[in-house]
């Protein structure tokens, strides 16, 4: 069925797999950075925990609930930014943001390229970027909960 294929552009196997078995999921006792992100429109709600050591992301986890896109995005984000310094993590977010809003390409994004299909669903961009916004707030030490509304 061709329409199934189109939907699979959004709900790629990798995305579904991560949404069901998210990596780095849970609270992080050693976190020295933490932020909360909330999408009031759909109720997605995540907390991102970061342990920064020697200027690099030593450990990063997330906890919370949301749709398949937001959860998979959070899961794959934690894998992608681990070991990076703040500048490189934010740069990756910027590339990712460009990808899901249809303004970028998949170069330099590695596995995150599976989110390219999101650009066809403008209402879902907030889902895909929620964890990223939250991570950035955690790294920047912003106290207030991030809201994508």
């Amino acid at each position: 069925m061709s329409d199934i294929r189109e939907l699979r552009d959004l709900y790629q196997e990798t995305i579904l797999e991560h949404s069901k078995k998210p990596r780095n999921y849970g609270e992080l006792a050693s976190a020295n950075h933490k932020a909360e992100g909330y999408n009031p429109l759909c109720g997605d709600h995540y907390t991102v925990f970061v342990n920064m050591k020697d200027g690099a992301i030593q450990e990063i986890t997330f906890h919370g609930a949301g749709c398949a896109i937001s959860k998979a995005s959070a899961s794959m984000m934690t894998q992608s930014v681990k070991g990076k310094n703040q500048e490189d993590a934010e740069k990756l977010f910027s590339l990712f943001h460009d990808l899901v809003t249809g303004n970028g390409n998949t170069d330099d994004l590695g596995k995150l390229a599976v989110f390219a299909g999101v650009s066809e669903y403008p209402l879902r961009v907030k889902c895909a970027t929620l964890a990223w916004h939250t991570m950035r707030a955690a790294l920047r030490g912003e106290e207030q909960a991030v809201s994508t509304e």
């Binding site: 329409d3 939907l7 959004l10 709900y11 069901k20 759909c42 109720g43 949301g66 749709c67 398949a68």
Partner: protein, 423 residues
């Protein structure tokens, strides 16, 4: 073909009804006849807003073509025609909800504005420190936030009557919360998130026993059932036009004349005055007292056409048609493993909220959309309801007079597809 068996008795019962021809009705709604993502549109987001029949679209356009003018001002022909048409709609609205006088109908933007008007006039005058405003746990944000704002301003307290797991108001608990401190009761006629129809008459009787007036949020009710404000004996009734097949941006507040007359002015401006000098302004009588400035004339004309359309089809017929659809949809969704309906009130209308095991409503919404099916997903502006059930959101199918059993079947196939894609 759907692999699901239809319930024979329901199918027979619906097809036997000849006084409501849904296919003919559908021809009155241009927007329904389109493809979305290559599939015929199945519009099941009617609790958010209803589509507009051609009669409404044409009435607005005809008004601008032939009669456009300001009302209650000029003595010229166009102004007279516009004024007469506008005031005719007031009478139509009065009759729609059986108010005793047309001056009890105040035209406003919609339910939200109507509730805010009452909060800022009646509320500010009558609710003070130590007083209470009583609402229910199933209210839409528009029947929560204006009261929170008022209570914050006045040092009053917002009390919330609880609901049971089926989504029904616990009347005993509600009654216990009434006291001499209760200055206003505010309750939805039909819950937009759960579909529950509240027992307004009983609620009003209980509240009046404490001399407490009752405001009813009628946004989801007026297009689904016959409403009789005199029989309900409620004190205020708030309506949105766009949920009853009329344009957005127009609705009305019903208030008992005695209460409206005693209420302070709301917005100041033209039309709401009888005479103005720099020393003193004499305010206009009802209903103009609450209609400052040039109103939304064209959309009021559209509202009039919508009411006429509803009257022509007959609200009894519409109520029956939607009840049949809701019953059929409930039976079909109950047969799908992993699907749970949220809101099982005995008295229910038009709204079917559901969740699917391990699938977030947002994903349900996107996949149904790919099948051409429009449902609402989210908290439906009723976050406390979601908190009550411990869920972040639901998917909600809501029915209107133009929906068909075949569209319910499409929804069922769509839900199967959601489960397939997300498996």
């Amino acid at each position: 073909m759907s692999t699901l068996a239809k319930t024979p008795d329901v199918v027979a019962e619906i097809s036997e009804r000849s006084n409501f021809d849904v296919e003919a009705v559908r021809r009155d709604f241009p927007v329904l006849h389109q493809q979305v993502h290559g599939k015929p549109l199945v519009y099941l987001d009617n609790a958010a807003t209803t589509q507009k029949p051609l009669a409404v679209i044409e009435a607005i356009s005809e008004y601008y073509r032939a009669d456009n003018s300001n009302i209650h001002r000029g003595v010229h022909a166009l102004s007279e025609r516009a004024t007469e048409a506008y005031e005719r709609v007031r009478v139509a609205a009065q009759k729609l909800i059986n108010a005793s006088e047309s001056k009890e109908i105040i035209f406003l933007r919609g339910t939200t504005e109507a509730i805010n008007l009452v909060a800022q006039t009646y509320g500010r005058k009558n609710v003070g420190a130590g007083h209470e405003v009583l609402i229910t746990a199933m209210e839409h944000h528009s029947n929560i936030v204006p009261w929170q704002m008022l209570c914050d301003e006045k040092g009053a307290r917002l009390r919330v009557a609880p609901i049971n797991d089926r989504g029904e108001l616990l009347l005993d608990e509600f009654e216990k919360l009434l006291s001499p401190k209760t200055k206003l009761v505010c309750v939805a006629h039909v819950s937009n998130a759960l579909g529950t129809v509240n027992p307004i008459k009983q609620i009003v009787r209980m509240a009046h026993a404490h001399n407490t007036p009752v405001l009813v949020d009628g946004a989801q009710a007026v297009a689904r059932m016959k409403v009789d404000v005199q029989d309900l004996d409620c004190d205020f009734y708030a309506v949105s036009g766009h949920k009853l097949y009329a344009p957005t941006g127009i609705g009305f507040l019903y208030g008992k004349a005695k209460l409206l007359e005693a209420m302070p002015q709301w917005q100041g401006g033209g039309d709401m005055i009888a005479s103005v000098t720099f020393e003193k302004t004499i305010y206009n009588c009802l209903p103009y007292k609450f209609e400052a400035g040039t109103p939304n004339i064209a959309d009021t004309i559209g509202l009039g056409a919508a009411i006429q359309y509803l009257n022509r089809l007959g609200l009894d017929n519409i109520e029956q048609h939607e009840a049949d659809l809701l019953r059929y949809a409930t039976e079909q969704l109950d047969r799908i493993p992993g699907v749970s309906i949220v809101g099982r009130a005995k008295e229910k209308a038009g709204v079917l909220s559901f969740v699917i095991e391990n699938i977030h409503p947002h994903d349900i919404g996107t996949i149904l959309d790919s099948e051409g099916i429009a449902v609402r997903t989210g908290h439906h502006c009723a976050q406390p309801v979601m908190q009550r059930y411990g869920i972040p959101a639901t998917a909600r199918a809501s029915f209107a007079l133009y929906n068909t059993q075949a569209e319910v079947d499409a929804l069922v196939r769509g839900i199967r597809k959601v489960q397939e894609v997300m498996s």
